[in-house]
């Protein structure tokens, strides 16, 4: 290295080029350019089909698309064929042993045509048999492929949809149909305990992401041939499978039609979660209250189906949507039907109290301390007064600060990694509680009020409803500060009016209270014992209103 180069190296200043990438304005092409016509049919030439699919699936770049060319033996002749599947979605063993083997290996079945051993029942079948027996398609479909589920199709749209869900497509030269063989074998989560709806004495099975597993759980519980599981697809890109489940001899047909109508008339690219679908099909998205019940328990979904409701399952989401849902459903927990009616009534009563406290307690406190001091008992008023002596803020700011901090703490605890989870609780308690009181930022009574409100809002079983409560609590606090009980009355009245106006799939939100329904259902406020629940919920207008006989415990009657 000579001196010159040394100097130039030392004094050389190279600007540090930061990596700078901005998104260029690409041509938006997905909605303007017309895609290829969707009615492409399978051609008889195998190579055309292979080319079409290669372009469609970008098979040259896609790493998990497999095209397997094979020679098929049938009727003593060889035909070329092609298997098209997505690696990871199919069960390799099944493909090898039950598709490739019978097609490719020479054996007695595909060497000769053996028609004469078929047994028929009557003359019509004989005629059909004679005309259709010896085609290649029939041989492959009826004799060579020992698979339990095969679909035949000539429409590429359907074939592509099958391939996307894990089917294996078999194309044969000279045939204008394609065989879609179900040999799915992708990894999925096994059935686990429910995480969010914990129940002591009920089944511990929760839905998983795979729709077929979920429907199988429903079938196992309901165990009746009248359970109908209709399939729809939603989403232009994702073509997500959505299952609509109902009992054909119980559920009101109008309701089922309405649910299907709403699901089938969605112009959307993709749905990725149950929440998306819920908001797309519910009656009024502007209303803060939820109108569909979300559950992850299979027993709860089945109970709702047997009651006459419709359950919607989505592929990829471990939650079921139950339609219609009324207000009292959000205050019931799945445990209510497992316990004795005395216990469940007590717990339900506690939940209603929790609901009222969670919405009204802070605003009640604000209203009473600012406008209606005479309501407070004399001893308590001096305690509150003493506590508030050194606080610099008015009541409204104090309570808003505390409520906002509580909400922030709640949000933070959701995001925190588990090892630090307990620390947050301690920090929260310390900072928000003790330290704030000692620093005279808030009064001690307020801490208790906010804590009780928080605990009561956790006692609400439904997740969406607790969000609604959180929102309304703030509105009521502001109204109480504006005009004391007058403001609270206004808030309650307007909320009642708007809730009475709300409908969930044609059913009024406050059924069965308004108008008064029958007394014998499960979801009234007071739960009757199981032997008194004679009728299904009458706001559902089911085909079979009677749930049980007038005397369901026949053994008791006979003894007399």
């Amino acid at each position: 290295m000579n001196f010159k180069s040394f100097l130039s190296n030392m004094l050389n200043y190279q600007k540090n080029n930061k990596y700078n990438y901005t998104l260029s304005e690409t041509q938006v092409s997905n909605n303007i350019v017309t895609e290829e016509k969707n009615d492409k049919k399978v051609s008889e030439k195998l190579q055309d089909n292979i080319d079409y699919l290669t372009v469609k699936y970008n098979a040259l770049i896609n790493s998990d698309i497999n095209i397997r060319n094979i020679n098929i033996y049938a009727k003593g002749k060889q035909y070329s064929g092609m298997l098209f599947y997505i690696d990871g979605m199919v069960d390799s063993d099944m493909v090898n042993n039950y598709i490739l083997k019978p097609l490719m290996l020479k054996n007695k079945t595909n060497s000769e045509t053996t028609n004469d051993s078929m047994v028929v029942t009557n003359k019509d079948d004989l005629k059909k048999r004679q005309s259709n027996l010896s085609t290649l398609e029939n041989i492959i479909h009826n004799t060579l492929l020992p698979q339990n589920s095969i679909k035949t199709s000539d429409d590429f749209l359907e074939i592509i949809s099958c391939i996307n869900s894990g089917f294996t497509a078999l194309f044969v030269d000279t045939l204008s149909d394609c065989f879609c063989i179900e040999a799915k074998g992708f990894e999925k989560r096994s059935i686990e305990k429910p995480n969010n709806e914990v129940v002591i004495r009920g089944p511990q099975e929760a839905f998983v992401e795979n729709i077929r597993t979920n429907t199988s759980m429903l079938r196992r519980i309901i165990n009746n041939e009248n359970l109908v599981i209709e399939q729809c697809t939603v989403g232009k890109i994702t073509q997500t499978k959505v299952a609509v489940c109902y009992m054909s001899n119980i559920t009101n047909e109008d309701l089922v039609n309405e649910v299907k109508y709403r699901i089938n008339n969605l112009d959307i690219d993709a749905i990725t979660s149950s929440g998306n679908l819920e908001h797309l099909i519910e009656d009024d998205d502007y209303s803060i209250f939820p109108q569909l019940l979300i559950t992850e328990r299979s027993d709860r979904a089945s109970a709702n189906i047997l009651d006459g409701r419709v359950v919607v399952l989505i592929n990829g989401a471990p939650f079921a949507l139950v339609a219609p849902a009324v207000f009292i459903d959000f205050l019931s927990s799945p445990e209510d039907s497992n316990l004795k009616h005395q216990y469940s009534n007590l717990v339900r009563f506690m939940r209603s109290i929790a609901f009222i406290i969670a919405v009204f307690m802070p605003s009640f406190y604000v209203a009473v301390t600012t406008y209606h001091q005479e309501l407070i008992p004399s001893d308590l008023i001096f305690a509150i007064s003493a506590g508030r002596k050194a606080i610099p803020f008015p009541v409204i700011f104090e309570i808003l600060i505390m409520e906002v901090s509580f909400e922030l703490l709640r949000e933070a605890s959701l995001r925190i990694p588990t090892p630090m989870g307990s620390t947050v609780g301690i920090i929260g308690g310390l900072i928000l509680g003790e330290a704030a009181v000692s620093a005279s930022l808030v009064s001690p009574l307020l801490i208790i009020i906010v804590a009780i409100t928080g605990i009561c809002s956790f006692a609400i079983p439904d997740y969406s409803l607790s969000f609604a409560l959180r929102l309304f609590r703030f509105v009521y606090i502001v109204l109480a500060y504006m005009a004391g009980f007058l403001g609270l009355s206004l808030g309650i009245f307007v909320q009642l009016i708007s809730l009475c106006n709300l409908k969930s799939f044609g059913v009024s939100y406050f059924s069965p209270y308004v108008p008064s329904g029958n007394k014998d259902t499960l979801n009234k406020f007071y739960i009757n014992p199981i032997w008194q629940r004679n009728k299904r919920s009458n706001f559902l207008n089911t085909k079979k209103p009677d749930f049980e006989g007038h005397i369901s415990m026949k053994w008791k009657k006979k003894q007399k």
Partner: protein
């Protein structure tokens, strides 16, 4: 402007208006809570009154409890006094936790009508406030109460409660006075209190005729009053021992049934028959032989008790009718039941004139039992 912008503007306006609060927002710590009001006659000016307010201030947040502060001022009326006193303390005076209104005896004899009307129309003051009549000056009384070691914000209600259980006084509410002033179906009574230098205590019952104080009832008179008004809880009565001269015994009395009266108007003289039903349990006596459990003994004691009660009630009734001319029990009400219309009643009866001429007939039905744990066999 799009709909969203209009809505967001309205929301912002709403938030601004909301956080200003109404004009009537009062922080709970900005109020001075009065627990007792005292009204005296002014020493300097005969038309004025001396208003004393007893305010309970909370102690620090570490120690619970309240400490008293008394404020006095001379003023022509209650409301002017209140607004003047507002200037001398740092908080706004609030009457919603006031439990006692004390008026001095001197002032009560002249008539408490203006104060009762004034106080009843005050929206903050509870109509269930107790009315006390103080023997001494209210200011002294309230100072004594303030200096007592167990002062708390509920001292007045607690004292009344405990003394009601011995039945030497009666409950007297502000709304009762207001009722009587507007419509005179019976006359009100007040709680008579007094104080020495160290302690303040309840002395008896103050009897009013309309709005003027006419007399005081103490001791057995109060008990008789409570028996006739069906407000007797329990009380201890000392009556002569029938077995030993000069000695007394005590019995615990309570009402078995409500007393009932019949009023029979003969000309201008009402004949009033009172049927009284009491239950008594012997509690103690002044002698050593204190085990009266046999039937004859109990009968004798019963007789003695009845005689004693009849005498005291009769004394009480004649005192109130002749000396005070004030129908505190409400016999007029029993008389009204006999008439169908008001016109008929007012043409026939002038109760103010008739009541002093009343003759009373008292019948006592008592059941007496022993309350001893250890009994003679």
């Amino acid at each position: 402007m799009t709909k969203k912008r209009i809505i967001s503007l309205l929301l912002i306006l709403f938030v601004i208006v909301a956080f200003m609060g109404s004009y009537d927002v009062e922080g709970i710590e900005d109020l001075a809570y009065v627990i007792a009001i005292g009204i005296d006659k002014s020493e300097t000016n005969p038309d004025n009154i001396k208003l004393t307010l007893q305010i309970a201030k909370p102690k620090d947040k570490e120690s619970n409890g309240t400490e008293p502060e008394n404020l006095s001022i001379e003023c022509p009326t209650f409301d002017t006094g209140l607004s003047t006193l507002n200037n001398s303390i740092d908080k706004k005076i609030n009457l919603s936790h006031c439990t006692a209104v004390i008026i001095s005896e001197e002032l009560a004899k002249e008539g408490i009508e203006p104060f009762v009307l004034n106080l009843s129309n005050n929206t903050e003051l509870r109509p269930t406030c107790h009315l006390f009549i103080s023997k001494n000056k209210c200011e002294d009384f309230m100072n004594t109460v303030a200096n007592s070691p167990d002062f708390s914000s509920g001292i007045y209600t607690a004292t009344i409660k405990s003394s009601l259980s011995s039945s030497y006084t009666t409950e007297s509410l502000l709304y009762d006075f207001y009722s009587t002033l507007r419509y005179d179906i019976k006359n009100p009574t007040g709680i008579y209190v007094g104080n020495t230098k160290e302690k303040a205590e309840i002395l008896g019952i103050a009897v009013f005729k309309r709005s003027k104080l006419v007399g005081i009832l103490t001791g057995t008179e109060s008990i008789s009053h409570n028996i006739l008004k069906n407000k007797l809880e329990t009380c201890s009565v000392l009556f002569p021992n029938p077995f030993e001269e000069g000695k007394n015994m005590t019995a615990n009395l309570s009402l078995a049934k409500n007393s009932d009266f019949k009023v029979d108007l003969q000309g201008d003289t009402p004949h009033i028959t009172c049927n009284i039903f009491v239950e008594a349990r012997i509690s103690s006596s002044q002698t050593t032989n204190d085990d009266y459990t046999s039937e004859e003994e109990l009968d004798k004691i019963n007789e003695a008790l009845n005689t004693f009660l009849t005498t005291s009630i009769r004394n009480y009734l004649y005192k109130t009718s002749k000396d005070f001319n004030s129908d505190v029990i409400g016999f007029e009400g029993a008389l009204r039941k006999q008439f169908l219309t008001m016109d008929e009643y007012s043409s026939r009866v002038d109760w103010d004139k008739f009541y002093p001429n009343s003759e009373f007939d008292i019948k006592i039905n008592s059941v007496i039992e022993s309350s001893y744990l250890f009994r003679k066999h």
